[in-house]
Protein backbone atom coordinates (compact mmCIF):
# COMPACT_ATOMS: atom_id res chain seq x y z
CA UNK A 1 0.00 0.00 0.00
CA UNK A 2 1.41 3.35 -0.86
CA UNK A 3 1.30 5.87 1.94
CA UNK A 4 1.57 9.50 0.97
CA UNK A 5 4.08 11.43 2.98
CA UNK A 6 3.05 14.51 4.89
CA UNK A 7 4.23 17.88 3.65
CA UNK A 8 6.48 18.17 6.69
CA UNK A 9 8.19 14.85 5.91
CA UNK A 10 8.72 15.90 2.33
CA UNK A 11 10.15 19.23 3.46
CA UNK A 12 12.56 17.42 5.80
CA UNK A 13 13.50 15.06 2.99
CA UNK A 14 14.11 17.90 0.54
CA UNK A 15 16.26 19.65 3.12
CA UNK A 16 18.32 16.49 3.44
CA UNK A 17 18.92 16.54 -0.26
CA UNK A 18 16.30 14.05 -1.38
CA UNK A 19 15.43 14.78 -5.00
CA UNK A 20 12.45 12.48 -4.73
CA UNK A 21 10.97 14.38 -1.77
CA UNK A 22 11.41 17.69 -3.55
CA UNK A 23 9.81 16.34 -6.73
CA UNK A 24 6.84 15.03 -4.74
CA UNK A 25 6.44 18.34 -2.97
CA UNK A 26 6.47 20.26 -6.24
CA UNK A 27 4.11 17.82 -7.93
CA UNK A 28 1.70 18.10 -5.03
CA UNK A 29 1.38 21.87 -5.35
CA UNK A 30 2.43 22.86 -8.85
CA UNK A 31 -1.08 22.61 -10.25
CA UNK A 32 -2.55 24.79 -7.54
CA UNK A 33 0.23 27.35 -7.83
CA UNK A 34 -0.01 27.37 -11.62
CA UNK A 35 -3.77 27.96 -11.45
CA UNK A 36 -3.26 30.68 -8.85
CA UNK A 37 -0.81 32.32 -11.24
CA UNK A 38 -3.22 31.91 -14.11
CA UNK A 39 -6.02 33.58 -12.22
CA UNK A 40 -3.77 36.39 -11.04
CA UNK A 41 -2.01 37.11 -14.32
CA UNK A 42 -4.60 35.94 -16.80
CA UNK A 43 -2.25 33.98 -19.04
CA UNK A 44 -0.27 30.77 -19.01
CA UNK A 45 3.13 32.25 -19.71
CA UNK A 46 3.08 34.60 -16.75
CA UNK A 47 1.48 31.90 -14.64
CA UNK A 48 4.47 29.70 -15.46
CA UNK A 49 6.92 32.47 -14.58
CA UNK A 50 5.16 33.06 -11.30
CA UNK A 51 5.10 29.33 -10.52
CA UNK A 52 8.84 29.09 -11.10
CA UNK A 53 9.47 32.11 -8.93
CA UNK A 54 7.30 30.62 -6.19
CA UNK A 55 9.08 27.28 -6.16
CA UNK A 56 12.44 28.97 -6.29
CA UNK A 57 11.37 31.03 -3.26
CA UNK A 58 10.05 27.89 -1.55
CA UNK A 59 13.30 26.05 -2.10
CA UNK A 60 15.51 28.90 -0.97
CA UNK A 61 13.45 29.47 2.17
CA UNK A 62 12.72 25.85 2.96
CA UNK A 63 15.14 25.85 5.89
CA UNK A 64 13.14 28.71 7.41
CA UNK A 65 9.91 26.70 7.44
CA UNK A 66 9.31 26.04 11.13
CA UNK A 67 5.89 24.44 10.90
CA UNK A 68 4.16 27.24 12.82
CA UNK A 69 1.54 27.22 10.09
CA UNK A 70 0.76 24.49 7.58
CA UNK A 71 3.11 24.14 4.64
CA UNK A 72 0.21 25.02 2.34
CA UNK A 73 -0.36 28.36 4.09
CA UNK A 74 3.37 29.04 4.07
CA UNK A 75 3.58 28.25 0.38
CA UNK A 76 0.69 30.57 -0.46
CA UNK A 77 2.29 33.30 1.60
CA UNK A 78 5.31 33.02 -0.67
CA UNK A 79 3.05 32.91 -3.72
CA UNK A 80 1.27 36.02 -2.48
CA UNK A 81 4.54 37.89 -2.01
CA UNK A 82 5.88 36.77 -5.36
CA UNK A 83 2.70 37.91 -7.09
CA UNK A 84 3.02 41.32 -5.44
CA UNK A 85 6.69 41.51 -6.47
CA UNK A 86 5.91 40.47 -10.01
CA UNK A 87 3.19 43.05 -10.22
CA UNK A 88 5.52 45.71 -8.92
CA UNK A 89 8.28 44.75 -11.33
CA UNK A 90 6.43 44.16 -14.52
CA UNK A 91 3.07 45.78 -13.91
CA UNK A 92 1.67 42.65 -15.43
CA UNK A 93 -1.38 42.79 -13.31
CA UNK A 94 -2.30 46.38 -14.06
CA UNK A 95 -4.76 45.22 -16.60
CA UNK A 96 -6.27 47.30 -19.27
CA UNK A 97 -9.05 44.80 -19.77
CA UNK A 98 -12.25 44.26 -17.88
CA UNK A 99 -15.58 45.95 -18.24
CA UNK A 100 -15.75 49.52 -19.45
CA UNK A 101 -18.24 52.13 -18.35
CA UNK A 102 -21.08 50.50 -20.22
CA UNK A 103 -20.32 47.12 -18.73
CA UNK A 104 -18.91 45.67 -21.92
CA UNK A 105 -15.56 43.91 -22.11
CA UNK A 106 -12.80 46.14 -23.27
CA UNK A 107 -10.46 43.23 -23.92
CA UNK A 108 -7.04 42.82 -22.40
CA UNK A 109 -4.98 39.99 -21.06
CA UNK A 110 -7.55 38.56 -18.71
CA UNK A 111 -10.02 38.02 -21.48
CA UNK A 112 -7.55 35.70 -23.16
CA UNK A 113 -8.77 32.15 -23.22
CA UNK A 114 -6.56 29.40 -21.86
CA UNK A 115 -6.42 27.83 -25.30
CA UNK A 116 -2.90 26.65 -24.76
CA UNK A 117 -4.34 23.80 -22.74
CA UNK A 118 -5.43 21.23 -25.31
CA UNK A 119 -7.01 18.93 -22.73
CA UNK A 120 -9.26 21.63 -21.54
CA UNK A 121 -12.80 21.26 -22.88
CA UNK A 122 -14.89 24.05 -24.31
CA UNK A 123 -17.24 24.25 -21.31
CA UNK A 124 -14.31 24.43 -18.90
CA UNK A 125 -12.65 27.10 -20.97
CA UNK A 126 -15.85 29.14 -20.93
CA UNK A 127 -16.16 28.86 -17.17
CA UNK A 128 -12.58 29.90 -16.74
CA UNK A 129 -12.97 32.75 -19.17
CA UNK A 130 -15.91 34.06 -17.19
CA UNK A 131 -13.98 33.79 -13.93
CA UNK A 132 -11.06 35.63 -15.50
CA UNK A 133 -13.38 38.33 -16.78
CA UNK A 134 -14.74 38.83 -13.30
CA UNK A 135 -11.28 38.88 -11.73
CA UNK A 136 -10.22 41.41 -14.33
CA UNK A 137 -12.57 43.96 -12.80
CA UNK A 138 -10.76 44.20 -9.50
CA UNK A 139 -7.31 45.47 -8.52
CA UNK A 140 -4.54 43.12 -7.44
CA UNK A 141 -4.92 43.63 -3.71
CA UNK A 142 -8.58 42.60 -3.90
CA UNK A 143 -7.84 39.83 -6.40
CA UNK A 144 -5.35 38.35 -3.96
CA UNK A 145 -7.96 38.35 -1.20
CA UNK A 146 -10.48 36.68 -3.51
CA UNK A 147 -7.86 34.15 -4.62
CA UNK A 148 -6.89 33.22 -1.08
CA UNK A 149 -10.45 33.17 0.18
CA UNK A 150 -12.34 31.44 -2.62
CA UNK A 151 -9.71 29.23 -4.20
CA UNK A 152 -7.34 28.52 -1.33
CA UNK A 153 -10.00 28.53 1.43
CA UNK A 154 -7.88 30.55 3.84
CA UNK A 155 -9.55 32.33 6.72
CA UNK A 156 -9.76 36.12 6.83
CA UNK A 157 -7.36 35.98 9.76
CA UNK A 158 -4.75 34.13 7.67
CA UNK A 159 -5.28 36.52 4.77
CA UNK A 160 -4.96 39.49 7.10
CA UNK A 161 -1.66 38.16 8.47
CA UNK A 162 -0.39 37.54 4.95
CA UNK A 163 -1.25 41.01 3.74
CA UNK A 164 -0.36 42.65 7.04
CA UNK A 165 -3.76 44.23 7.36
CA UNK A 166 -6.56 43.91 9.89
CA UNK A 167 -9.17 41.17 9.63
CA UNK A 168 -11.84 43.84 9.04
CA UNK A 169 -9.87 45.28 6.13
CA UNK A 170 -9.54 41.80 4.63
CA UNK A 171 -13.31 41.31 4.93
CA UNK A 172 -13.95 44.73 3.44
CA UNK A 173 -11.63 44.03 0.51
CA UNK A 174 -13.39 40.76 -0.17
CA UNK A 175 -16.83 42.33 0.00
CA UNK A 176 -15.77 45.24 -2.19
CA UNK A 177 -14.34 42.78 -4.71
CA UNK A 178 -17.56 40.80 -4.80
CA UNK A 179 -19.51 43.99 -5.29
CA UNK A 180 -17.37 44.88 -8.28
CA UNK A 181 -17.73 41.39 -9.69
CA UNK A 182 -21.42 40.99 -8.97
CA UNK A 183 -23.43 39.64 -11.79
CA UNK A 184 -26.36 41.77 -12.75
CA UNK A 185 -28.76 39.32 -14.44
CA UNK A 186 -29.08 41.05 -17.81
CA UNK A 187 -25.34 41.71 -17.95
CA UNK A 188 -24.66 38.13 -16.84
CA UNK A 189 -26.53 36.87 -19.85
CA UNK A 190 -24.60 39.20 -22.12
CA UNK A 191 -21.38 38.04 -20.55
CA UNK A 192 -22.22 34.40 -21.06
CA UNK A 193 -23.23 35.04 -24.65
CA UNK A 194 -20.00 36.89 -25.37
Amino acid sequence: MRVSNSDEKLVAGALNGSTRAWRQLVQRYERRVYNLGYRLTGNGEDAMDLMQEVFLGVYRNLHRFRGDSSFRTWLFRIAHNKAVDLNRRRKLLSLTGGLDESGEFAGGELSARPESEPDHGLAERERNRLALELLGRIPLEQRLVVELKIYQSLTFEEIAQMQEISVNTAKTRFYAALKKMRLIPEKENALLEN
Binding site: E30, Y34, M48, M51, L134, I150, L178, M181
Partner: protein, 193 residues
Protein backbone atom coordinates in the same frame (compact mmCIF):
# COMPACT_ATOMS: atom_id res chain seq x y z
CA UNK B 1 -35.05 52.46 -2.22
CA UNK B 2 -31.52 51.43 -1.17
CA UNK B 3 -31.27 49.79 2.22
CA UNK B 4 -28.87 51.37 4.70
CA UNK B 5 -28.01 48.01 6.26
CA UNK B 6 -27.05 46.22 3.07
CA UNK B 7 -23.29 46.73 3.20
CA UNK B 8 -22.94 45.89 6.88
CA UNK B 9 -25.11 42.81 6.72
CA UNK B 10 -23.78 41.40 3.46
CA UNK B 11 -20.19 42.01 4.47
CA UNK B 12 -20.82 39.97 7.60
CA UNK B 13 -22.69 37.35 5.60
CA UNK B 14 -19.46 36.41 3.79
CA UNK B 15 -17.24 36.36 6.87
CA UNK B 16 -15.83 33.14 8.44
CA UNK B 17 -17.24 33.60 11.89
CA UNK B 18 -20.85 34.35 11.14
CA UNK B 19 -22.80 33.41 14.25
CA UNK B 20 -26.07 31.47 13.86
CA UNK B 21 -27.94 34.38 15.45
CA UNK B 22 -26.55 36.87 12.94
CA UNK B 23 -27.18 34.47 10.07
CA UNK B 24 -30.84 34.20 11.04
CA UNK B 25 -31.05 37.98 11.40
CA UNK B 26 -29.55 38.52 7.93
CA UNK B 27 -31.77 35.88 6.34
CA UNK B 28 -34.84 37.41 7.92
CA UNK B 29 -33.80 40.86 6.72
CA UNK B 30 -33.05 39.63 3.21
CA UNK B 31 -36.45 37.94 3.05
CA UNK B 32 -38.09 41.22 3.92
CA UNK B 33 -35.77 43.59 1.98
CA UNK B 34 -35.89 43.29 -1.81
CA UNK B 35 -32.84 45.49 -2.31
CA UNK B 36 -30.65 43.36 -0.07
CA UNK B 37 -32.07 40.16 -1.58
CA UNK B 38 -31.14 41.33 -5.07
CA UNK B 39 -27.66 42.33 -4.01
CA UNK B 40 -27.07 39.09 -2.14
CA UNK B 41 -28.12 37.16 -5.22
CA UNK B 42 -25.68 39.13 -7.36
CA UNK B 43 -22.82 38.63 -4.93
CA UNK B 44 -23.42 34.90 -4.44
CA UNK B 45 -23.77 34.61 -8.22
CA UNK B 46 -20.32 36.14 -8.65
CA UNK B 47 -18.85 33.87 -6.01
CA UNK B 48 -20.50 30.88 -7.69
CA UNK B 49 -19.05 31.82 -11.05
CA UNK B 50 -15.60 32.19 -9.55
CA UNK B 51 -15.91 28.77 -7.90
CA UNK B 52 -16.74 27.34 -11.30
CA UNK B 53 -13.08 27.61 -12.25
CA UNK B 54 -11.84 24.36 -13.73
CA UNK B 55 -8.27 23.62 -12.80
CA UNK B 56 -5.83 23.73 -15.67
CA UNK B 57 -3.08 21.10 -15.60
CA UNK B 58 0.32 22.63 -15.03
CA UNK B 59 2.56 22.34 -18.08
CA UNK B 60 5.43 19.92 -17.81
CA UNK B 61 8.46 21.61 -16.44
CA UNK B 62 11.65 20.31 -14.98
CA UNK B 63 13.40 23.50 -14.08
CA UNK B 64 12.61 22.87 -10.44
CA UNK B 65 14.71 19.70 -10.55
CA UNK B 66 17.56 21.46 -12.30
CA UNK B 67 17.25 24.23 -9.75
CA UNK B 68 17.17 21.72 -6.90
CA UNK B 69 20.27 19.91 -8.18
CA UNK B 70 22.09 23.16 -8.79
CA UNK B 71 21.21 24.53 -5.37
CA UNK B 72 22.07 21.23 -3.66
CA UNK B 73 25.32 21.10 -5.59
CA UNK B 74 26.22 24.55 -4.40
CA UNK B 75 25.23 23.66 -0.90
CA UNK B 76 27.20 20.40 -0.95
CA UNK B 77 30.22 22.24 -2.23
CA UNK B 78 29.79 24.84 0.47
CA UNK B 79 29.46 22.10 3.09
CA UNK B 80 32.56 20.40 1.72
CA UNK B 81 34.47 23.62 2.02
CA UNK B 82 33.22 24.02 5.56
CA UNK B 83 34.37 20.46 6.32
CA UNK B 84 37.82 21.31 5.02
CA UNK B 85 37.95 24.27 7.34
CA UNK B 86 37.41 21.87 10.24
CA UNK B 87 40.36 19.65 9.36
CA UNK B 88 43.12 21.85 10.91
CA UNK B 89 41.06 22.21 14.08
CA UNK B 90 40.49 18.44 14.21
CA UNK B 91 44.22 17.82 13.65
CA UNK B 92 45.09 20.23 16.48
CA UNK B 93 42.64 18.49 18.79
CA UNK B 94 44.14 15.11 17.90
CA UNK B 95 47.68 16.33 18.53
CA UNK B 96 46.65 17.80 21.86
CA UNK B 97 45.01 14.52 22.85
CA UNK B 98 48.10 12.53 21.87
CA UNK B 99 50.32 14.90 23.83
CA UNK B 100 48.15 14.78 26.92
CA UNK B 101 48.03 10.99 26.86
CA UNK B 102 51.82 10.74 26.28
CA UNK B 103 51.21 8.51 23.33
CA UNK B 104 54.30 7.08 21.73
CA UNK B 105 54.54 5.04 18.58
CA UNK B 106 57.65 2.89 18.25
CA UNK B 107 58.58 0.64 15.38
CA UNK B 108 60.51 -2.18 16.98
CA UNK B 109 61.29 -5.66 15.83
CA UNK B 110 59.10 -5.41 12.74
CA UNK B 111 56.04 -4.39 14.77
CA UNK B 112 54.47 -1.08 15.47
CA UNK B 113 54.11 -0.45 19.16
CA UNK B 114 51.71 2.19 20.40
CA UNK B 115 51.92 3.05 24.06
CA UNK B 116 50.36 5.68 26.29
CA UNK B 117 52.02 7.35 29.22
CA UNK B 118 55.40 8.90 30.04
CA UNK B 119 58.29 7.63 27.90
CA UNK B 120 60.58 7.56 30.98
CA UNK B 121 58.14 5.32 32.76
CA UNK B 122 58.03 3.07 29.77
CA UNK B 123 61.84 2.74 29.78
CA UNK B 124 61.83 1.91 33.48
CA UNK B 125 59.13 -0.65 32.89
CA UNK B 126 61.15 -2.17 30.12
CA UNK B 127 64.27 -2.34 32.31
CA UNK B 128 62.31 -3.86 35.16
CA UNK B 129 60.92 -6.53 32.89
CA UNK B 130 64.43 -7.29 31.64
CA UNK B 131 65.71 -7.46 35.21
CA UNK B 132 62.93 -9.83 36.19
CA UNK B 133 63.65 -12.00 33.21
CA UNK B 134 67.39 -12.13 34.06
CA UNK B 135 66.61 -12.84 37.70
CA UNK B 136 64.40 -15.73 36.74
CA UNK B 137 67.10 -17.10 34.46
CA UNK B 138 69.69 -16.81 37.25
CA UNK B 139 67.34 -18.48 39.69
CA UNK B 140 66.88 -21.33 37.28
CA UNK B 141 70.65 -21.64 36.70
CA UNK B 142 71.31 -21.59 40.45
CA UNK B 143 68.75 -24.32 41.00
CA UNK B 144 70.49 -26.38 38.32
CA UNK B 145 73.86 -25.88 39.98
CA UNK B 146 72.45 -26.88 43.34
CA UNK B 147 71.06 -30.03 41.83
CA UNK B 148 74.41 -30.85 40.29
CA UNK B 149 76.25 -30.21 43.63
CA UNK B 150 73.81 -32.43 45.44
CA UNK B 151 74.36 -35.15 42.91
CA UNK B 152 78.14 -34.86 43.30
CA UNK B 153 77.85 -34.86 47.10
CA UNK B 154 75.82 -38.04 46.99
CA UNK B 155 78.35 -39.62 44.66
CA UNK B 156 81.16 -38.57 47.03
CA UNK B 157 79.33 -40.00 50.00
CA UNK B 158 78.82 -43.25 48.19
CA UNK B 159 82.53 -43.35 47.25
CA UNK B 160 83.54 -42.55 50.84
CA UNK B 161 81.30 -45.27 52.17
CA UNK B 162 82.76 -47.80 49.74
CA UNK B 163 86.29 -46.73 50.76
CA UNK B 164 85.48 -47.00 54.40
CA UNK B 165 84.02 -50.45 53.95
CA UNK B 166 87.10 -51.50 52.01
CA UNK B 167 89.32 -50.09 54.69
CA UNK B 168 87.36 -51.84 57.40
CA UNK B 169 87.63 -55.11 55.54
CA UNK B 170 91.37 -54.62 55.25
CA UNK B 171 91.66 -53.76 58.91
CA UNK B 172 89.75 -56.88 59.82
CA UNK B 173 92.02 -58.97 57.69
CA UNK B 174 95.04 -57.30 59.28
CA UNK B 175 93.72 -58.05 62.77
CA UNK B 176 93.11 -61.63 61.85
CA UNK B 177 96.57 -61.95 60.41
CA UNK B 178 98.02 -60.50 63.58
CA UNK B 179 96.00 -62.87 65.73
CA UNK B 180 97.16 -65.76 63.63
CA UNK B 181 100.71 -64.54 63.92
CA UNK B 182 100.40 -64.13 67.67
CA UNK B 183 98.97 -67.55 68.07
CA UNK B 184 101.65 -68.98 65.87
CA UNK B 185 104.40 -67.16 67.70
CA UNK B 186 102.91 -68.14 71.01
CA UNK B 187 102.92 -71.82 70.25
CA UNK B 188 106.45 -71.80 68.85
CA UNK B 189 107.86 -69.78 71.77
CA UNK B 190 106.52 -72.10 74.35
CA UNK B 191 108.38 -74.94 72.71
CA UNK B 192 111.66 -73.07 72.13
CA UNK B 193 111.72 -70.91 75.32
Amino acid sequence: MPCSRTDHLLREYFSDDLSPVLRVEIEEHVTACADCAAQLQELTGAARELRGWEEIPAPRWDRHMALFRRERGVEKDRRWRLAWQWIPAAACALMLGLTLLNTSVVYQGGALEISFGSPELTAVDRRLAEFNRLQAEEREEFAGMLARFEQLRMQDLETMQAGYELLADRDYETVRSLQQLVSLVGSAGVTEW
